[in-house]
Symmetry: C2
Subunit: 224 residues, 2 copies
Amino acid sequence: MDGDVTSDTPAPRPVLTRARIVQAAVGLIEREGADALSMRRVAAELGVAVMSLYNHVPNKGALLEGVAEHVVAGLELEDDPGEPWQDRARALVRAFRKVAHDYPRCMTIVLTHKIDTQLGLRPAERALALADAAGFDGPTSVRIMRALMAYALGAQLRETGVVKTLDNLVETQAEAWAKLDAAEFPHVVALAPELASHDPETDFEFGLDLLIGALDALPRASRS
Amino acid sequence: MDGDVTSDTPAPRPVLTRARIVQAAVGLIEREGADALSMRRVAAELGVAVMSLYNHVPNKGALLEGVAEHVVAGLELEDDPGEPWQDRARALVRAFRKVAHDYPRCMTIVLTHKIDTQLGLRPAERALALADAAGFDGPTSVRIMRALMAYALGAQLRETGVVKTLDNLVETQAEAWAKLDAAEFPHVVALAPELASHDPETDFEFGLDLLIGALDALPRASRS
DNA sequence: ACGTAAGACGTACGTTGTACGTACCGTGTC
DNA sequence: GACACGGTACGTACAACGTACGTCTTACGT
């Protein structure tokens, strides 16, 4: 009566695999935060013993790398070389924004673990391709890529709250505002409402337009 | 003979204080990495028992916040309102670069822990002040601050190698280059030398000039 | 001189990552 | 069909971790 379990569609549950482990880890992190991730919790999530995980993952660090890999694999990088390069650049940076929004609590791990698959190179390739299409020479293209990456990264960190410092405390502790003396932080106090009201979308696009506009104004060999 | 120990300059060694604990933690992190930090190691560093730390720090999380606080306190934010705002903006963003260079391995912690002192607001205040000086209105100033922060953050993360992913693997694994097929990553392969040769200084300034130039070109109420 | 509060310390508990040995199970090879 | 074998699941065990709790020493106000 249990013979048909071995059909051509084996029930995915009992089969333990690296992909399933990573997925469970990602789910756990998104639900309870990166601190809550432990090999025991992941094992419990999958209904297996702790050490069974080590048949598919050498250690916890490798699991975290797997998580980072999984997240960047979620980058939707469809590209239409026919479009103007400005729009392609926007789409690229926005793809970053999307994954960061989809996996907010995984971002810490993505940022602190390297990705040794070629997946990590896809964004770089895209950025270089469109810089090339825009008519920039090699070295400049590399710098453009790095500047775009830097902005995409930083903006996303701020928005998802991975970076707790800087101006993020603004919205959380309303009572702290009272203790600020306007003498030391006049502009911060004066612009309190603007600082408190988050409109990440336009904030993000503002900086993005700034950068792309600057790139557009840059001299280059061939104009489109 | 030990009476003069209680002079006006008490020997800093035996006196256990929060500042000394934080400093030891920072030193340990910079020497051995953030993973090596543990309450026991810090205590050993200071030659005290583990639980003695808890008289000055409620828990490890608070210690990490202290570390983050210490690092941002190192921001050298001298400012001359007389200078053109472009130069002031450059100085501000470069201050970020400097601390990130001074405490590279602490950056992970700085980024993932909030700072509840007013120290965290100093950069924001500076950015808003110079945006104001440049003649931008309130909401725009806030956006400018956020864009500058985003770039400063992202650029520094890339440079210090906190972000292991993206294009950082490029320089480390020279053998990986061979496995890249030029069909999938034509631009990456073509620009390999440029990608490998790191000139962080000019990379950083390139993006910074891009941003500030774009700001300069932005319409605003009062021109300087 | 004495009570009191603060700080340094030791012990102990629960949780973590993982090294190691064991048991099962499907797949060639005779 | 019997059998050895490689891969996988599992349980046990250990060192290191964060920290709650109780104790002891010490400095100080009275």
